[in-house]
């Protein structure tokens, strides 16, 4: 075998130009794959995180009726404890379950601020500040002031929303809302913080206030519109779901729906499908690149027909001849894939800091997605590109190698 490797390696340098072109083709394909994966991963990972942070949690518990009418932000289908347990007890019970790290209540309702010209609609979230800061990236997005404190009439909102209502941090704002008993009321809050985010949801739609303040104003008891559970690793969320469902069932919580984050949004499901589709596209790209290698190998086989005839006449088995050509093909694949993986890695490394700005295209789309996409730089992508490059090219090298192996020594020798 070592002998064969030696010949294959030497053969590769017999015509450098032709070898380099074949290597280049593979390198280019692998580079594109590494880059595309980095970009897609940057987009998807970020989007998953955003959905988990601001929509679904790792596991989300809501009322089944509420799930149908989430858009209404109704206060009639709240999570308000179990048969003989209050919400607080339910929360601490859930936290005791294996794997659950945090239980985060959110109380969402519609509110509006009246300005000179119009009524600015917004989405109010009653939140537990400490938990939100620990779970989401709000702390990083908070550009001015601080997060709201429990029990106070304070709000935090996005830059663009502040702009719309002509207010700034430190000023007061009067918001109107409909309480749980359908009465129309207003309350005045102090703006204590400003969020600057690329995410339209945070920047121009949502206003945060302490959850206890929100309950008091809406005449709600110990209630929230949803409970988010977090676990250590998002990919294991599904494993902890049965325990949560079991707990709800045993304590008379049939009206609740517990959902893992992947099922929480059709957009996440779409992304998962597209991830699979992209993997096929990668495969296809490498296949195209390996056509170049096949072409080169076919010519090499033709060129060396006499040589092959001689070698087989001297006792090299046809299996070994096949190995020889496959080795030559895979040597090209190795060098090309390595160069491509490194090249793609460098591009990703560079672009991870720069990012692509898609904000113009994402303006009207109703999904949670950071409009600036930063490709991720991961060894995993480079490894993936490298492996797929080597494997596919080596496999396709079998086609010309078989042709070489099938040659009859006498016939081959006679060929001019």
């Amino acid at each position: 075998m070592k002998f064969l490797i030696n010949i294959a390696f030497k053969n590769m340098f017999r015509n450098k130009l032709r070898t380099i072109v074949s290597i280049l083709a593979i390198a280019f394909a692998v580079m594109v794959i590494v880059f595309a994966r980095g970009l897609l991963d940057g987009m998807i990972a970020d989007t998953y995180e955003l959905y988990i942070h601001y929509d679904t949690g790792h596991i989300k518990i809501i009322d089944e009726e509420y799930a149908q009418k989430e858009r209404l932000l109704s206060l009639n289908y709240t999570v308000n404890g179990l048969e003989n347990k209050s919400l607080a007890e339910m929360q601490s019970d859930l936290k005791e379950l294996q794997g659950i790290e945090m239980v985060i209540p959110r109380l969402k309702f519609g509110a509006a601020v009246s300005t000179e010209e119009e009524l600015v609609q917004m989405l109010a979230w009653g939140v537990d500040s400490e938990k939100e800061l620990a779970f989401t990236n709000l702390a990083r997005e908070l550009s001015q002031g601080r997060m709201v404190e429990a029990g106070k009439r304070e709000v935090v909102m996005g830059t663009k929303l502040l702009d719309k209502i002509n207010r700034s941090v430190g000023e007061k704002v009067t918001m109107v809302y409909t309480t749980a008993f359908s009465s129309f009321q207003g309350a005045t809050f102090e703006i204590v913080g400003e969020i600057t985010s690329n995410l339209p949801l945070l920047n121009e739609e949502t206003v945060f206030m302490p959850i206890d303040t929100a309950r008091e104003l809406l005449y709600l008891e110990d209630e929230s519109t949803e409970l988010l559970l977090t676990v250590g690793d998002r990919n294991q969320a599904g494993e902890y779901l049965p325990a949560v469902q079991n707990y709800l069932e045993q304590n008379g919580g049939e009206k609740y729906l517990a959902q893992v984050w992947k099922e929480g949004s059709s957009y996440i499901q779409l992304l998962e499908v597209s991830e699979t589709i992209y993997n096929f596209i990668y495969l296809f790209l490498v296949l195209l690149a390996s056509i170049v290698v096949i072409n080169t190998l076919v010519m090499i086989v033709k060129e060396r027909t006499q040589e092959i005839g001689m070698m087989s006449a001297l006792g090299l088995k046809s299996r070994e001849i096949m190995q020889l050509f496959i080795l030559e093909g895979s040597a090209m694949a190795l060098i090309g894939s390595l160069a491509g993986a490194l090249g793609g890695g460098i591009i990703n490394y560079y672009l991870a800091g720069v990012g692509f700005d898609y904000s113009a295209a994402f303006q009207d789309i109703d999904v949670l997605m950071n409009p600036i996409i930063y490709p991720t730089f991961k060894l995993e992508h480079m490894l993936f590109g490298f492996t797929i490059g080597v494997v596919v090219t080596t496999l396709t090298a079998i086609i010309p190698a078989r042709r070489a192996a099938k040659l009859e020594p006498t016939e081959a020798l006679r060929e001019i």
């Binding site: 032709r18 009246s114 779409l270 499908v273």
Partner: protein, 411 residues
């Protein structure tokens, strides 16, 4: 002609290699044609939805209103006047026009409240501009002077409304007092424009004007022309003769973010095409080098017999062009076949979005079909051939520059 014939013969020497290399180009073209066709189909449907249900071909509005139109303000409205209407009527190619008023509504069903967009329409004239009536699934259009309303079937379901129910619409007049309209639901619609189904309520214009206390003001005129391609020029023409802050906007201006998105998608398609064609170019380079290596003695001999370096390069370029043309023809045949198969059934938007109601920026729903555009076929074909020829230049030069003596003694 001699060179041309030689190139053709050379192409024939390694039929399999020619075919395989052409295949890479064919795939590039196939993928381009498919994505482009799908995009085209979606664009076409999106624009016709917007035109037929939301923006018409042309809109006349105050320019200050236009910039803030998504906030549904009640300032900078237009006072309809004979003068403006005469100018509109004088527009060539005009089929019909109507008046509309968009305003913010909080829809209330007694339990919950939902912010939606109210649209005041002139029932007698709206049908000539918009196709809303076509998509009524139950009931009828609202009558003028009445407080009858129609809304999307989906919205009604969400709010637990049925035909004949009364929906309370909470509105705010320009002088900041709240007012309500008890709208009787006389019709439900289900259009292919998702956001219309989910958040628009239509009512007679006169009723809306009266309750909003804005006399006979409207937010914009909507015009329908004979042909939507005329709208862009017509908008520019109309804008010149309109006085004051009034301006005319075509359907393209109305769908600005959609247009940007299409452009981004277009760039993405181009990038994919460029990537595959780069691969194809490497393939062509490889093929030319392989042919040159094989024919080294031949080339040396031809040079020795007096063939110019330029002529050798030409021969290789024609050969590459041949590969490009074969690839292009295969690609276009496969692409057309692909589109044809795709259009037999179309793709259900609901399947694409996992049954969800999210619209990914495209104002369309239902089944999408791909579009055809002759121009894009020609473009991609020419592009493919061009890349092939371009890629062949350097390796051909390399081969042609070989010293004839050394080339003959190649081995």
């Amino acid at each position: 002609m001699f060179l041309f014939r030689m190139a053709l013969k050379n192409l024939n020497r390694h039929r399999r290699r020619t075919f395989i290399t052409a295949l890479i180009i064919a795939f590039a073209i196939l993928i381009y044609i498919l994505t482009e066709g799908l995009m085209l189909g979606m664009t076409e449907m999106s624009f016709s939805n917007i035109i037929n249900l939301e923006s018409g071909h042309l809109q006349v509005a105050d320019q200050n209103y236009w910039n803030e139109r998504e906030e549904l303000p009640l300032k900078n409205l237009i006072e309809p006047s004979e003068e403006v209407e005469k100018k509109i009527e004088a527009l060539s190619g005009l089929q019909a026009y109507t008046k509309r008023l968009n305003f913010a509504v909080n829809l209330n069903n007694g339990i919950d409240e939902l912010p939606v967009t109210g649209v005041g329409i002139d029932p007698d004239r709206d049908g000539a501009v918009f196709e809303l009536q076509k998509y009524l699934t139950a009931g009828r259009m609202p009558r003028s002077e009445s407080s009858e309303i129609i809304m999307g079937a989906k919205l009604a379901e969400l709010m637990d409304f049925e035909l004949g129910d009364y929906a309370v619409m909470l509105i705010r007049t320009p002088d900041k007092t709240f007012n309500t309209i008890d709208g009787e639901i006389v019709g439900l619609f289900n259009t292919p424009h998702p956001s219309l189904n989910e958040s628009n309520v239509f009512i007679s214009l006169s009723t809306a004007q009266q309750r909003l206390n804005i006399e006979d003001k409207i937010s914009h005129y909507v015009l329908r022309l004979e042909d939507r391609d005329k709208a862009i020029n017509a908008a520019a023409g109309l804008a010149q003769i309109l006085e004051g802050d009034l301006n005319a906007y075509s359907w393209r201006d109305a769908a600005e973010s959609l247009v940007t998105m299409m452009e981004m998608q277009e760039i993405e398609t181009q990038v994919i095409l460029a990537i595959i064609l780069t691969l194809a170019a490497v393939g062509i380079v490889n093929t030319v080098i392989l042919s040159a290596l094989e024919r080294m003695e031949e080339l040396g001999m031809m040079k020795a017999l007096g063939m110019h370096q330029r002529e050798i390069v030409y021969t290789f370029m024609v050969e590459a062009a041949g590969i490009g043309i074969i690839g292009g023809i295969m690609g276009i045949i496969m692409g057309s076949l692909g589109l044809w198969i795709f259009n037999l059934n179309g793709i259900d938007m609901a399947a694409l979005t996992g049954g969800g109601d999210i619209n990914y920026g495209f104002p369309l729903s239902g089944t999408i079909y791909a579009g055809w555009e002759f121009y894009s076929f020609v473009f991609v074909f020419v592009y493919g051939v061009f890349i092939s020829v371009l890629a062949s230049v350097f390796p051909a030069l390399w081969a042609a520059r070989k010293d004839p003596v050394k080339a003959i003694y190649h081995r």
